[in-house]
């Protein structure tokens, strides 16, 4: 009896504890109702356009038909993945993505660092500001405009570059339809558009360097090149390493709009990447399930790489991104 009464009492207090917790939650929510109202549109956005699509990737395992909807379409398991991996296109897409990314890594990645070092050595502030304003600008131009300018400059029949080549006695070059030049073209466009923008973060890291270090080096007789080599570069080493790791983490992401715009029949072999393939098969040909499977494959690899890269970046004493 006594034991029973005790447990009953305990249950009651547990119950009432739960009740007060629930009550408090309810009171808190009511107190903050306007805050919830403020976050509501944003939360709805993330549910509607991020979480429902995340859940929507299940159509990669279905034979999705728009009439049946996600709930009633037939399940086919890994059929689409098997089809994609056994398709010769798969190796091609993978190669193109990797090559475009690697070219960017090798030729584009060091340039903002070099440009920052040069800018850092400029004593005249007006000159430095002017150059900065100029080199930041292309970042804001759309890829459509950049593609258009590229066509204007490099067109085989009327581009100014080919006009110059002809005047100098060379044959005109088919920059825009040449398979061998396509990756180079993409890299050059990227360099022109983004090098200046990339200097912002590196210049910021350079400003954090203690000026006393330079004073000391000067007294020791180090010239400007040696100061750059022995002070500036080591000081920004961590930032560079983190940027490099994060870049490696997004190696599956290539400039999709850029490729989409620069692509043409003559260069499809070297230009096709996962997104262009998804666009063609999914949006244009209506193979929703198959192209979702292709996209999902790319996203999963991307996810693994980003998480790994972020872990690594944290090891280098930086906060990382997440």
């Amino acid at each position: 009896m006594a034991v029973d009464a005790q447990t009953a009492k305990l249950n009651r207090t547990a119950d009432s504890g739960e009740n007060t917790a629930r009550k408090r939650l309810w009171l808190d929510v009511r107190r903050d109702k306007y805050l919830y109202l403020l976050i509501l549109p944003g939360v709805l956005y993330f549910i509607m356009f991020k979480y429902i699509p995340m859940w929507g990737v299940i159509i990669a395992f279905q034979d999705y038909s728009p009439y049946m909807g996600m709930l009633h379409s037939q399940w086919v398991g890994l059929e689409h993945f098997v089809r994609f991996f056994s398709n010769p296109d798969f190796a091609l897409l993978f190669r193109n993505t990797m090559m475009i990314s690697l070219l960017n890594l090798i030729f584009f990645f060091p340039l903002p660092i070099l440009l920052s070092l040069l800018l850092n050595e400029v004593a005249q502030r007006a000159f430095k500001r002017t150059i900065q304003s100029i080199v930041y600008l292309p970042h804001f131009l759309s890829w459509v405009i950049i593609a258009g300018i590229t066509f204007l400059l490099l067109s085989q029949s009327s581009g100014i570059v080919n006009m110059l080549l002809e005047k100098a006695g060379f044959h005109p070059i088919d920059f825009l339809t040449n398979k061998n030049l396509f990756w180079v073209l993409l890299t050059l466009q990227n360099i022109w558009k983004e090098t200046g923008w990339g200097t912002i973060i590196i210049l910021a890291a350079i400003t954090a360097v203690d000026p006393q270090l330079y004073e000391a080096a000067k007294i020791d007789g180090a010239n400007r090149l040696r100061q750059t080599w022995h002070i500036t570069l080591p000081a920004i080493r961590n930032v560079i390493i983190v940027l490099l790791i994060l870049r490696l983490g997004s190696i599956m992401d290539v400039g999709f709009e850029q490729i989409f715009l620069m692509m043409n029949g003559a260069v499809t072999d070297v230009a096709d990447v996962f997104e262009t393939y998804v666009y063609r098969n999914g949006i244009q040909n209506g193979q929703f399930s198959y192209s979702t499977a292709v996209g999902l494959f790319k996203s999963v690899i991307g996810l693994v790489l980003v998480v790994l890269a972020n872990r690594l970046a944290k090891k280098f004493g930086e906060e990382g991104v997440f």
Binding site: L38, P41, V57, I59, E121, I134, M163, L261, S299, L303
Partner: protein, 293 residues
């Protein structure tokens, strides 16, 4: 202290190299500008080899402003860059403010949910199906609503709000201000630089809207400027993609090079105009992103 010879030589080289980099960056833009103002006959005569036109002409601009397609598309892009930017700033700052209140129940849960959206990208077929289910295909809202805010900007803006001194808000609370009052009268005005930076990024993104329009808009009366530009600029005979590619220009003459470049100038102009005013803000915006993360 007099500079050493080595140092002076270093300076000269450095200024020279930077000057060349500046020139390489500017030349394409200068060339586009010059071609757009060149008399079409002169352009044809000189075979495109023009560094400074003898005869200035605005005929390319006259032509563009007489075509309804170009004007309409400019109108669509202007709508996106104004209404879209305003909506995006409102939604982003509102959710960022809410999530910066530490006492808000469910705050961590929502924050983690937002970070996860940054890690996993479902590709563009599932969002396309959502937009289609919502009946937004061929609506100008399909260019705004699916990109209304972004996890990055929410988290960056939240960390900006986190750094506003609590004392200011407490003082307002004591004076009887509600959360909404604090948000509108204290936090937002104090965040003007951040709002300017994010506003610029949103506005540029909306003005440059291209791929969402390729996906969601098939009706030529509703395409934004970048689509019209693409149709004018990219050689339609070699281009592969885009259900919307060729049709638009088919009712017009094939645009001449000078007209193409005038179109580029017009679509670059708004960016060039706001650029100097916002330059100091956007570098701050980038810094916010890189330092805070």
């Amino acid at each position: 202290m007099k500079e050493s010879l080595g140092s002076r030589l270093f300076n000269t080289c450095n200024y020279g190299v930077l000057g060349i980099i500046g020139a390489i960056t500017l030349f394409p833009l200068y060339y586009v500008f010059v071609v757009s103002f060149t008399d079409p006959h002169e352009f044809a005569d000189k075979n495109g080899f023009i560094l400074f036109p003898v005869h200035w002409s605005t005929s390319a601009y006259d032509y563009l402003f007489s075509t309804s397609a170009f004007l309409k598309a400019t109108g669509v892009s202007t709508f996106l860059a104004t209404v879209g930017t305003a909506l995006s700033l409102m939604v982003t700052s509102a959710i960022a403010f809410g999530l910066s209140r530490k006492r808000l129940r469910g705050r961590r849960f929502i924050l983690i949910g937002i970070v996860l959206t940054l890690l996993f990208n479902p590709g563009f077929i599932p969002p396309y199906l959502v937009v289609r289910e919502l009946g937004l295909i061929n609506s100008v809202w399909s260019l705004i609503v699916p990109v209304l805010t972004s996890g990055w900007y929410v988290i960056l803006m939240k960390s900006f709000f986190d750094n506003i001194p609590v004392e200011l808000e407490e003082a307002a609370m004591i004076d009887g201000s509600t959360d909404l009052g604090t948000f509108f009268r204290i936090v937002l005005p104090l965040s003007a630089p951040a709002l300017a930076a994010f506003g610029l990024f949103y506005a540029v993104a909306y003005w440059n809207t291209f791929f969402t329009a390729v996906l969601y808009i098939n009706d030529f009366a509703k395409v934004p400027l970048q689509i019209v530009l693409r149709n004018m600029l990219v050689d339609s005979s070699t281009s592969t993609g885009g259900a919307t590619a060729v049709e638009m220009v088919s009712d017009q003459q094939i645009p001449t090079q000078t007209i193409k470049m005038a179109a580029v100038v017009i679509s670059t102009l708004p960016i060039l105009c706001v650029y100097p005013f916002l330059q100091k803000h956007f570098t701050k915006g980038v810094m916010l992103g890189s330092v805070k993360g």
